[in-house]
Amino acid sequence: MPYPNGCFRKTPRLRVRPLPEREACLVYTPGNPNLYTLNATAWVVLELCDGRSLRQLEKAFYQSVEPLMSEQEAAEYLLASLRDMLEKSIVEVVPKRPRKALGRSGEARLR
Protein backbone atom coordinates (compact mmCIF):
# COMPACT_ATOMS: atom_id res chain seq x y z
CA MET A 1 0.00 0.00 0.00
CA PRO A 2 1.62 3.33 -0.99
CA TYR A 3 0.24 5.26 2.02
CA PRO A 4 2.34 4.21 5.01
CA ASN A 5 1.96 7.57 6.75
CA GLY A 6 -1.63 8.36 5.86
CA CYS A 7 -4.92 7.88 7.63
CA PHE A 8 -8.05 6.55 5.98
CA ARG A 9 -11.39 8.23 6.24
CA LYS A 10 -14.67 8.44 4.35
CA THR A 11 -14.71 11.06 1.61
CA PRO A 12 -16.54 14.27 2.51
CA ARG A 13 -20.36 14.21 2.32
CA LEU A 14 -20.39 10.46 1.69
CA ARG A 15 -23.86 8.98 2.27
CA VAL A 16 -24.18 5.53 3.80
CA ARG A 17 -27.55 3.74 4.00
CA PRO A 18 -27.67 0.38 5.76
CA LEU A 19 -29.60 -2.39 3.99
CA PRO A 20 -29.58 -5.02 6.74
CA GLU A 21 -32.15 -7.15 4.93
CA ARG A 22 -29.63 -7.53 2.10
CA GLU A 23 -26.65 -7.80 4.43
CA ALA A 24 -25.15 -4.78 2.69
CA CYS A 25 -25.16 -1.02 2.59
CA LEU A 26 -25.63 1.53 -0.14
CA VAL A 27 -23.05 4.25 -0.54
CA TYR A 28 -23.41 7.44 -2.53
CA THR A 29 -20.31 9.42 -3.47
CA PRO A 30 -21.44 12.99 -4.20
CA GLY A 31 -17.96 14.21 -5.16
CA ASN A 32 -17.84 11.72 -7.98
CA PRO A 33 -21.54 10.92 -8.34
CA ASN A 34 -22.08 7.19 -8.13
CA LEU A 35 -24.00 4.66 -6.12
CA TYR A 36 -22.41 1.49 -4.79
CA THR A 37 -23.49 -1.58 -2.89
CA LEU A 38 -20.99 -2.79 -0.31
CA ASN A 39 -21.33 -6.26 1.13
CA ALA A 40 -21.03 -6.56 4.89
CA THR A 41 -17.27 -7.23 4.84
CA ALA A 42 -16.52 -4.12 2.80
CA TRP A 43 -18.97 -2.19 4.95
CA VAL A 44 -17.03 -3.13 8.12
CA VAL A 45 -13.87 -1.79 6.50
CA LEU A 46 -15.64 1.41 5.50
CA GLU A 47 -16.93 2.00 9.02
CA LEU A 48 -13.45 1.51 10.41
CA CYS A 49 -12.12 4.25 8.13
CA ASP A 50 -12.56 7.03 10.65
CA GLY A 51 -9.05 8.43 10.50
CA ARG A 52 -7.10 5.29 11.37
CA SER A 53 -3.74 4.47 9.89
CA LEU A 54 -3.25 1.33 7.86
CA ARG A 55 -1.66 -0.40 10.85
CA GLN A 56 -4.58 0.56 13.07
CA LEU A 57 -7.03 -0.57 10.43
CA GLU A 58 -5.33 -3.95 10.13
CA LYS A 59 -5.59 -4.43 13.86
CA ALA A 60 -9.20 -3.23 14.11
CA PHE A 61 -10.38 -5.27 11.14
CA TYR A 62 -8.70 -8.39 12.43
CA GLN A 63 -10.41 -7.86 15.79
CA SER A 64 -13.73 -7.64 13.96
CA VAL A 65 -13.35 -10.95 12.16
CA GLU A 66 -11.22 -13.12 14.42
CA PRO A 67 -11.16 -16.02 15.10
CA LEU A 68 -12.89 -16.85 11.81
CA MET A 69 -10.02 -15.44 9.77
CA SER A 70 -6.28 -15.43 10.22
CA GLU A 71 -4.41 -12.13 10.51
CA GLN A 72 -3.06 -12.60 7.00
CA GLU A 73 -6.45 -13.36 5.46
CA ALA A 74 -7.93 -10.37 7.24
CA ALA A 75 -5.14 -8.12 5.98
CA GLU A 76 -5.74 -9.33 2.42
CA TYR A 77 -9.44 -8.57 2.61
CA LEU A 78 -8.70 -5.20 4.14
CA LEU A 79 -6.23 -4.20 1.45
CA ALA A 80 -8.56 -5.33 -1.32
CA SER A 81 -11.37 -3.26 0.18
CA LEU A 82 -9.22 -0.18 0.68
CA ARG A 83 -7.85 -0.30 -2.85
CA ASP A 84 -11.34 -0.61 -4.29
CA MET A 85 -12.77 2.11 -2.08
CA LEU A 86 -9.94 4.51 -2.86
CA GLU A 87 -10.42 3.93 -6.55
CA LYS A 88 -14.14 4.62 -6.22
CA SER A 89 -13.69 7.73 -4.06
CA ILE A 90 -15.48 6.11 -1.13
CA VAL A 91 -12.53 6.66 1.19
CA GLU A 92 -9.55 8.95 1.01
CA VAL A 93 -6.10 9.13 2.57
CA VAL A 94 -5.24 12.17 4.64
CA PRO A 95 -2.00 13.02 6.42
CA LYS A 96 -1.58 11.72 9.95
CA ARG A 97 -2.55 14.11 12.71
CA PRO A 98 0.02 15.20 15.30
CA ARG A 99 0.31 13.03 18.37
CA LYS A 100 -1.66 15.38 20.64
CA ALA A 101 -4.76 15.02 18.45
CA LEU A 102 -4.93 11.28 19.07
CA GLY A 103 -7.92 10.10 21.05
CA ARG A 104 -8.18 7.25 23.46
CA SER A 105 -6.41 4.05 22.53
CA GLY A 106 -4.08 6.14 20.40
CA GLU A 107 -6.39 6.29 17.39
CA ALA A 108 -6.47 9.37 15.27
CA ARG A 109 -9.86 11.05 15.37
CA LEU A 110 -10.15 13.32 12.42
CA ARG A 111 -13.79 14.25 12.76
Partner: protein, 202 residues
Protein backbone atom coordinates in the same frame (compact mmCIF):
# COMPACT_ATOMS: atom_id res chain seq x y z
CA UNK B 1 -27.78 5.98 12.61
CA UNK B 2 -24.38 6.76 14.10
CA UNK B 3 -21.19 5.39 12.62
CA UNK B 4 -20.63 3.26 15.72
CA UNK B 5 -24.05 1.66 15.33
CA UNK B 6 -23.29 1.12 11.64
CA UNK B 7 -20.06 -0.61 12.56
CA UNK B 8 -21.82 -2.92 15.03
CA UNK B 9 -24.48 -3.75 12.46
CA UNK B 10 -21.98 -4.31 9.65
CA UNK B 11 -19.84 -6.53 11.86
CA UNK B 12 -22.86 -8.58 12.98
CA UNK B 13 -23.95 -9.05 9.36
CA UNK B 14 -20.42 -9.91 8.19
CA UNK B 15 -20.17 -12.72 10.75
CA UNK B 16 -23.75 -13.94 10.41
CA UNK B 17 -22.83 -16.81 8.09
CA UNK B 18 -19.51 -17.72 9.63
CA UNK B 19 -16.27 -16.57 8.03
CA UNK B 20 -16.87 -13.24 6.26
CA UNK B 21 -17.14 -13.41 2.51
CA UNK B 22 -14.64 -11.57 0.35
CA UNK B 23 -15.27 -7.81 0.28
CA UNK B 24 -17.38 -6.78 -2.66
CA UNK B 25 -18.21 -3.31 -3.90
CA UNK B 26 -20.49 -3.12 -6.90
CA UNK B 27 -21.66 -0.10 -8.78
CA UNK B 28 -25.41 0.30 -8.86
CA UNK B 29 -26.62 1.15 -12.33
CA UNK B 30 -29.04 3.97 -11.88
CA UNK B 31 -31.85 4.39 -14.34
CA UNK B 32 -32.96 7.93 -14.98
CA UNK B 33 -36.61 7.72 -15.84
CA UNK B 34 -37.27 10.65 -18.10
CA UNK B 35 -39.92 9.00 -20.26
CA UNK B 36 -42.42 11.76 -19.72
CA UNK B 37 -39.96 14.59 -19.54
CA UNK B 38 -39.39 16.32 -22.83
CA UNK B 39 -36.17 18.28 -23.17
CA UNK B 40 -36.97 21.76 -24.34
CA UNK B 41 -34.59 23.10 -27.02
CA UNK B 42 -33.41 26.67 -26.54
CA UNK B 43 -34.62 28.98 -29.33
CA UNK B 44 -32.11 31.14 -31.19
CA UNK B 45 -32.09 34.87 -30.44
CA UNK B 46 -34.27 35.68 -33.44
CA UNK B 47 -36.62 32.73 -33.17
CA UNK B 48 -40.15 32.63 -31.80
CA UNK B 49 -40.23 36.26 -30.81
CA UNK B 50 -44.01 36.13 -30.67
CA UNK B 51 -44.35 33.49 -27.92
CA UNK B 52 -44.93 34.01 -24.21
CA UNK B 53 -41.73 32.11 -23.48
CA UNK B 54 -39.60 29.18 -24.60
CA UNK B 55 -40.94 27.46 -21.51
CA UNK B 56 -44.17 28.39 -19.78
CA UNK B 57 -45.10 27.05 -16.39
CA UNK B 58 -48.68 27.15 -15.26
CA UNK B 59 -49.88 26.74 -11.72
CA UNK B 60 -53.60 26.01 -11.57
CA UNK B 61 -55.32 26.18 -8.20
CA UNK B 62 -58.54 27.02 -6.45
CA UNK B 63 -58.88 29.39 -3.55
CA UNK B 64 -61.78 28.99 -1.09
CA UNK B 65 -64.54 31.49 -1.79
CA UNK B 66 -64.01 33.04 1.61
CA UNK B 67 -60.47 33.92 0.63
CA UNK B 68 -60.94 35.11 -2.93
CA UNK B 69 -61.14 38.80 -2.06
CA UNK B 70 -58.12 38.47 0.20
CA UNK B 71 -56.19 36.75 -2.59
CA UNK B 72 -57.13 39.31 -5.22
CA UNK B 73 -55.99 42.08 -2.86
CA UNK B 74 -52.74 40.24 -2.33
CA UNK B 75 -52.24 40.09 -6.10
CA UNK B 76 -53.02 43.77 -6.51
CA UNK B 77 -50.49 44.65 -3.83
CA UNK B 78 -47.71 42.24 -4.83
CA UNK B 79 -47.81 41.29 -8.50
CA UNK B 80 -45.83 44.31 -9.69
CA UNK B 81 -43.21 43.61 -7.01
CA UNK B 82 -42.97 39.97 -8.08
CA UNK B 83 -42.80 40.77 -11.79
CA UNK B 84 -40.21 43.52 -11.45
CA UNK B 85 -38.09 41.53 -9.00
CA UNK B 86 -37.95 38.66 -11.49
CA UNK B 87 -36.63 41.00 -14.16
CA UNK B 88 -34.16 42.63 -11.82
CA UNK B 89 -32.81 39.59 -9.99
CA UNK B 90 -32.88 36.88 -12.63
CA UNK B 91 -32.06 36.49 -16.27
CA UNK B 92 -34.69 34.89 -18.45
CA UNK B 93 -37.37 34.43 -15.78
CA UNK B 94 -40.60 36.37 -16.17
CA UNK B 95 -43.80 36.53 -14.13
CA UNK B 96 -46.77 36.78 -16.50
CA UNK B 97 -49.58 37.23 -14.00
CA UNK B 98 -52.18 35.27 -12.12
CA UNK B 99 -55.52 34.95 -13.84
CA UNK B 100 -58.96 34.19 -12.48
CA UNK B 101 -61.60 32.34 -14.48
CA UNK B 102 -64.49 34.62 -15.12
CA UNK B 103 -67.03 32.55 -16.92
CA UNK B 104 -68.70 29.20 -16.86
CA UNK B 105 -67.01 27.34 -14.03
CA UNK B 106 -66.08 27.54 -10.38
CA UNK B 107 -63.50 30.20 -9.73
CA UNK B 108 -60.00 28.99 -10.43
CA UNK B 109 -56.68 30.78 -10.64
CA UNK B 110 -53.79 30.22 -12.99
CA UNK B 111 -50.35 31.70 -12.56
CA UNK B 112 -48.03 31.86 -15.55
CA UNK B 113 -44.25 31.96 -15.53
CA UNK B 114 -42.23 32.36 -18.70
CA UNK B 115 -38.63 31.31 -19.17
CA UNK B 116 -36.31 32.20 -22.01
CA UNK B 117 -34.85 28.70 -21.82
CA UNK B 118 -35.18 25.55 -19.76
CA UNK B 119 -31.83 26.35 -18.14
CA UNK B 120 -33.17 29.70 -16.90
CA UNK B 121 -35.02 27.85 -14.15
CA UNK B 122 -31.70 27.60 -12.34
CA UNK B 123 -31.86 31.37 -11.87
CA UNK B 124 -34.17 30.81 -8.92
CA UNK B 125 -31.13 30.02 -6.83
CA UNK B 126 -30.18 33.66 -7.26
CA UNK B 127 -33.69 35.04 -7.03
CA UNK B 128 -34.45 33.25 -3.78
CA UNK B 129 -31.02 33.69 -2.20
CA UNK B 130 -32.32 36.23 0.28
CA UNK B 131 -34.91 34.36 2.31
CA UNK B 132 -36.23 37.54 3.94
CA UNK B 133 -36.50 39.81 0.94
CA UNK B 134 -39.85 41.35 0.04
CA UNK B 135 -39.75 39.32 -3.17
CA UNK B 136 -39.24 35.99 -1.40
CA UNK B 137 -41.92 36.85 1.16
CA UNK B 138 -44.44 37.73 -1.56
CA UNK B 139 -43.55 34.67 -3.59
CA UNK B 140 -43.86 32.40 -0.57
CA UNK B 141 -47.34 33.73 0.04
CA UNK B 142 -48.35 33.30 -3.60
CA UNK B 143 -47.04 29.73 -3.58
CA UNK B 144 -48.87 29.04 -0.30
CA UNK B 145 -52.22 29.51 -2.06
CA UNK B 146 -51.21 26.89 -4.63
CA UNK B 147 -49.96 24.54 -1.90
CA UNK B 148 -53.23 24.91 -0.01
CA UNK B 149 -55.18 23.41 -2.89
CA UNK B 150 -54.64 19.64 -2.77
CA UNK B 151 -55.79 19.45 -6.39
CA UNK B 152 -53.52 22.24 -7.60
CA UNK B 153 -51.56 21.37 -10.71
CA UNK B 154 -48.25 22.47 -12.13
CA UNK B 155 -47.75 22.11 -15.87
CA UNK B 156 -44.94 22.92 -18.24
CA UNK B 157 -45.50 24.06 -21.81
CA UNK B 158 -43.14 24.86 -24.66
CA UNK B 159 -43.96 26.13 -28.16
CA UNK B 160 -44.54 23.21 -30.53
CA UNK B 161 -42.46 24.93 -33.21
CA UNK B 162 -39.40 24.51 -31.01
CA UNK B 163 -39.55 20.76 -31.54
CA UNK B 164 -39.52 20.84 -35.32
CA UNK B 165 -35.78 20.11 -35.47
CA UNK B 166 -35.17 18.44 -32.13
CA UNK B 167 -38.01 16.18 -30.97
CA UNK B 168 -37.32 16.87 -27.29
CA UNK B 169 -34.57 14.49 -26.23
CA UNK B 170 -33.70 10.92 -27.22
CA UNK B 171 -36.49 9.15 -25.36
CA UNK B 172 -39.25 11.37 -26.64
CA UNK B 173 -37.74 11.07 -30.12
CA UNK B 174 -37.81 7.29 -29.72
CA UNK B 175 -41.45 7.40 -28.64
CA UNK B 176 -42.42 9.48 -31.67
CA UNK B 177 -40.50 7.21 -34.04
CA UNK B 178 -42.16 4.14 -32.55
CA UNK B 179 -45.58 5.72 -32.93
CA UNK B 180 -44.84 6.68 -36.53
CA UNK B 181 -43.61 3.18 -37.26
CA UNK B 182 -46.78 1.69 -35.77
CA UNK B 183 -48.79 3.99 -38.01
CA UNK B 184 -46.77 2.81 -41.02
CA UNK B 185 -45.24 6.23 -41.43
CA UNK B 186 -41.77 7.67 -41.35
CA UNK B 187 -40.30 5.79 -38.43
CA UNK B 188 -36.77 4.44 -38.61
CA UNK B 189 -36.27 1.56 -41.02
CA UNK B 190 -35.36 -1.63 -39.22
CA UNK B 191 -33.16 -4.42 -40.59
CA UNK B 192 -36.16 -6.59 -41.50
CA UNK B 193 -37.90 -3.77 -43.33
CA UNK B 194 -34.72 -2.97 -45.27
CA UNK B 195 -34.44 -6.61 -46.33
CA UNK B 196 -38.07 -6.68 -47.40
CA UNK B 197 -37.57 -3.55 -49.47
CA UNK B 198 -34.61 -5.11 -51.25
CA UNK B 199 -36.34 -8.39 -52.04
CA UNK B 200 -39.64 -6.74 -52.81
CA UNK B 201 -41.41 -9.05 -50.32
CA UNK B 202 -44.12 -7.62 -48.13
Amino acid sequence: MTSEKNLDLAQRLALRRGAPSAPRITEVSTEVRTNTVIAVPTPGPDELKYVIGALVIEWAFRVPFAKIREFNSFLADNEALIAESCEKLMKGVHYRGTYMTTHGERVEFRTYWAYDSQAAQAQWEIGLANARSNFTTALRRLRSYWISDPNGTHRHFAPGALFAKDPGGPFHGFTLETAEQMAGGAGPVTGKRKARRKTGRK
